[in-house]
Symmetry: C2
Subunit: 160 residues, 2 copies
């Protein structure tokens, strides 16, 4: 929790809105006077009234998180008026898909490598590795994606 | 671009706000009458006035994307009042880090496996694989993360 307000030190919201900061001020616990930009941002993007409504709608123990996530969204929207933080979601979703493809591909390479090594290994070799699968290995990326990463796609982050 | 307004079919915004939808309505191209929920959401989260300001602030060719990203954010906030779409960013960031660790680990296994296979291979073997590195391989995850994935972390999606 941030600092509470007093008559001498109004919170950043009351100072910006030029109003008296009362002891029961909704904004004061989350918008301390030393962080004026935080309130400026959420006010510009969401409006003070909507922020106040949201604070009152969520449980007291979740209010700090709610305000922080609003502040994050607001800052992202002011930096990127077109995409806001949805741009970050899009970048991260592409990154996840790329990493999943890379992982599936490398796993497939390992299976092929191990299978080929087993097939080519002379019977008298002293190499003590176990052969987990041999012969032709059919291992398309899509199969691996479905089997191993079906839980990671758009459902976590919301498909855009 | 969505459908334009007419006197008979006001856009979703003008219908909700109970006002006459004029031919130069700011909302009409982006809030067609058949999508009332889209305007309801952005109005509830951002306020109609802020949405109108944002539409006018961005270039005409980017307005559809801007409205769609606002609609996405608004829907996420109404579904999850505490974290909104910032929750999705957090989930995706963790997923990226987990995949990066997994990929680094599996790459390290490959190097160790190849090195051990080269060391244990009898000189007369007919296996025609090239040995890329042998002996003890020091391959901590952090090294791989720094070398191969230093560009993927918080900078893309914004660290929370």
């Amino acid at each position: 929790m941030a600092s509470s307000s007093s008559a001498n030190f109004p919170c950043a919201a009351c100072k910006f809105l030029r109003r008296k900061c009362m002891p029961d001020c909704t904004f004061a616990p989350y918008f301390p006077p030393e962080e004026p930009q935080k309130f400026f941002n959420v006010h510009k993007v969401f409006g003070a009234s909507n922020v106040s409504k949201l604070i009152n709608e969520v449980a007291p123990h979740q209010r700090q998180d709610a305000v922080n996530s609003l502040a994050y969204e607001a800052e992202a929207r002011l930096k990127d008026p077109v995409y806001g933080c949805v741009g970050a979601i899009s970048v991260l979703q592409r990154q996840v898909m790329r990493l999943q493809r890379e992982l599936a591909s490398i796993r497939c390479d390992i299976i092929r490598y191990a299978a080929a090594a087993c097939d080519e290994m002379p019977p008298t070799t002293t190499v003590g590795r176990s052969c987990f699968g041999h012969g032709n290995v059919y291992c398309p990326s899509s199969q691996w994606n479905n089997e191993h990463y079906g839980d990671n796609g758009g459902s976590d982050g919301g498909s855009l």
